[in-house]
């Protein structure tokens, strides 16, 4: 190449996308910090961050004042775990959505396609309905954690089954994965419906509320339980960036570009199953995040996974926190299921973006 051919007029990246990678990541991080602060500061009791020093003092045993104890209960025992788990659930659902969309090369793909959510739901429903009956000896020892553990196991087991079906010839066939996932999802749904049909009024209510999602059961032990998953996702996801970028052109092309196709698929499925399984176990079924958040990131900063993966995590966490604040404030002292709030907030925002920009180049 001649030097003339190499001369570039300016260093600023031309703006086909509204935001650069750095702008989106920094902006999303700021939003997340604001949302997390708000999540700690807002709640039906009206206790705000000004009480944090006293709450900490109470936690450390430096004061036995009753109202400080109350502040400790609210700020440290209720809001903090809720904020942390909310961030985890939002981030992992959004990242899982982005990974699925890259894997299936389809902007409408959803983590539910690999059967995680429906498997988790089936396990949760079975726990609610059979937990006091047939399954009692298995589930009672787990106490309060029976439901999350069952949901997680159900989600991961379903994905495992799916991988077995789709990976029969040594290679993971993405097309087979999709179809088998839909089939397994339908089967899980049917079994879930069957169990629900045989449940009584009270169990049905429990089921319904669980399936609409809630962060209300967040506790510090649960925070501990999800920490390894958060670490797993944080560590394994960057390894997917190059692979998923290559995947966008198709598996053959990805191979030609130097991507280890099978390893990418394997890591993608592991990360998705683990993160969605854990998220569903913690908070029930919360839809919408997995599809919408990656979309928004792509609309703003383009489809390079170097920005889509971290951006989705940050934006997903933020969105979940905002929805949770609304869930616990709008009808206080009662609480709205967060899945409903999520759809209510996210859908109009998404529609607005789509109408304004078109789906960034797609028909």
């Amino acid at each position: 190449m001649t030097s003339e051919a190499l001369a570039l007029p300016d260093r600023k990246k031309p703006s086909a996308h509204p935001l650069s990678t750095a702008q989106l990541v920094v902006g999303a991080t700021l939003l997340l910090v604001i949302a997390a602060t708000a999540s700690l500061a807002l709640g039906p009791t009206g206790i705000s961050l000004g009480s944090l020093p006293r709450a900490i003092a109470s936690a450390l045993g430096m004061t036995a004042d009753a109202s400080a104890a109350r502040e400790q209960l609210v700020l440290i025992d209720i809001r903090m775990p809720r904020t942390l788990i909310g961030m985890f659930v939002g981030a992992s659902l959004a990242v899982a959505g982005a990974i699925m969309q890259g894997l299936f090369r389809n902007p409408l793909a959803d983590p539910g396609l690999i059967g995680v959510s429906s498997g988790a739901a089936l396990a949760a429903v079975a726990t609610i309905a059979l937990g006091n009956g047939i399954a009692a000896p298995l589930l009672q020892p787990l106490g309060v954690y029976a439901l999350p553990v069952a949901a997680f196991v159900g989600g991961v087991a379903t994905t495992g089954l799916l991988v077995l079906i789709a990976g029969r010839h040594g290679q993971l066939m993405v097309g087979t994965l999709l179809l088998a996932g839909i089939a397994l999802g339908a089967l899980s749904g049917a079994l879930t419906g069957l169990i629900a049909y045989a449940s009584d009024d009270r169990e049905l209510r429990d089921l319904t509320f669980w399936s609409m999602g809630s962060l209300g059961g967040s506790t510090w032990p649960k925070v501990l339980a999800v920490t390894p998953f958060a670490v797993l996702i944080a560590v394994m996801t960057p390894a997917l960036i190059r692979g998923l970028n290559g995947f966008l052109l198709g598996e053959s092309e990805a191979f030609h570009l130097g991507v280890n196709v099978e390893r990418t698929k394997t890591i993608a499925i592991i990360v998705t199953a683990a993160s969605v399984g854990a998220a569903v176990a913690m908070a029930g079924i919360i839809g919408f995040v997995g599809i919408v958040v990656p979309h928004v990131v792509r609309l703003l900063a383009g489809p390079d996974h170097r920005v889509v993966l971290p951006g989705s995590a940050l934006l997903g966490a933020t969105l979940m926190l905002v929805a949770d604040i609304a869930a616990r404030m709008l009808v206080k002292p009662a609480e709205l299921p967060i899945g409903i709030v999520m759809a209510g907030i996210g859908a109009p925002v998404f529609l607005h973006l789509v109408m304004k920009r078109g789906i960034g180049g797609m028909e």
């Binding site: 039906p44 936690a59 104890a69 025992d77 809630s214 506790t219």
Partner: protein, 312 residues
């Protein structure tokens, strides 16, 4: 680690708080009781009560302790002014921890079914006394429930009076029940969807009420709530079908008449479909004996059954 410290100091804090409360409570006539779940709970100030559970609220009103109630749950449907005038904390199995705390109760009296479990845990770990009401679906259980709640809110006298009234009512009911020579078969239908009914077998509140009302549970072979298969339904042949009045709670139900399995039953042929309010019939609250009697009257119109004298 932070958590261990939190829980260690939490225990210390609760211990200190409890000690302080015991001392103060001795001055304020506070007391320690064992609640329906076996936990020891120390009760101090009873001026701001959060009542969770339809039967719990109803008993508090009957004890004239309703002035102390600051908030109820959505199943507290009797008397109507409970939900009408008090703050609602939502459905009793979907409570919000911080939401409950924000109503600033000094005492929480809750039915066993309150949930979800993690939220109950958090509430029990707060400094607010959380009392679980014992639940036993028998006449003795109802009286015990009344006495228990009365002792919690320092209304022992009113409680004893109400409990005796209820016991007398049940005794009368038992006498009237003894007059039944040919027990009728009744079927409790929880809901109907698409022509299929969900019915109550043994181990349900409906089954217990049927026993009190002198009826035989036509679905006595099943346990819990079960959907009624078409053919099995034909064999049940109930003389009467009992169902809940469609209120605000629960999904709308198709009419019982659409259930094919029951089309040939004596109940539907003679159009003996008895609709009663859910809390009234199944709540096992103070009006329990009355509800059972009403059911009995509906089932056995030919029997001379008197209603009890003091009624409200």
């Amino acid at each position: 680690m932070f958590l261990r410290r939190v829980y260690a100091f939490e225990t210390l804090r609760v211990a200190v708080a409890t000690a302080l409360m015991l001392v103060a409570g001795a001055a304020l006539a506070g007391k320690t009781i064992v609640d329906g779940s076996g936990r020891k709970v120390t009760i101090g100030d009873t001026s701001r009560i959060l009542s969770i559970g339809g039967d719990v609220t109803e008993i508090l009103y009957a004890l004239k302790a309703d002035g102390k109630i600051i908030a109820v749950d959505t199943t507290s449907q009797h008397p109507p002014q409970a939900l009408g005038t008090k703050t609602s904390v939502g459905y009793m199995r979907a409570l919000s921890a911080e939401g409950v705390l924000s109503t600033n109760p000094t005492l929480i009296i809750a039915a066993k079914d309150a949930g979800p479990p993690p939220v109950v845990s958090v509430l029990q770990s707060s400094s607010i006394p959380y009392v679980v009401v014992p639940d036993d679906r028998t006449p003795e259980g109802v009286a015990a429930k009344i006495r228990f709640i009365a002792s919690v809110v320092d209304a022992e006298a009113a409680g004893e009076a109400l409990a005796k009234e209820v016991e007398a009512d049940f005794a009368l009911l038992a006498e009237q029940r003894a007059k039944i020579t040919a027990p009728k078969r009744a079927l409790f239908v929880l809901s109907v969807q698409n022509g299929r009914a969900t019915v109550a077998g043994t181990g349900t509140a409906a089954d217990a009420i049927f026993k009190l009302a002198g009826a035989v549970n036509a679905a006595g072979d099943a346990h819990g709530y079960k959907p009624l298969a078409d053919e099995a339904g034909v064999e049940l042949a109930p003389d009467a079908v009992v169902t809940m009045q469609s209120g605000r709670s629960g999904p709308p139900s198709d009419p019982v008449t659409s259930v094919k399995a029951l089309a040939d039953s004596p109940a539907l042929k003679q159009h003996k479909i008895i609709e009663m309010n859910a809390l009234y019939l199944l709540g096992f609250g103070p009006r329990c004996a009355r509800a059972a009697r009403e059911l009995m009257i509906a089932l056995y119109p030919e029997l001379p059954i008197k209603r009890a004298s003091a009624e409200k």
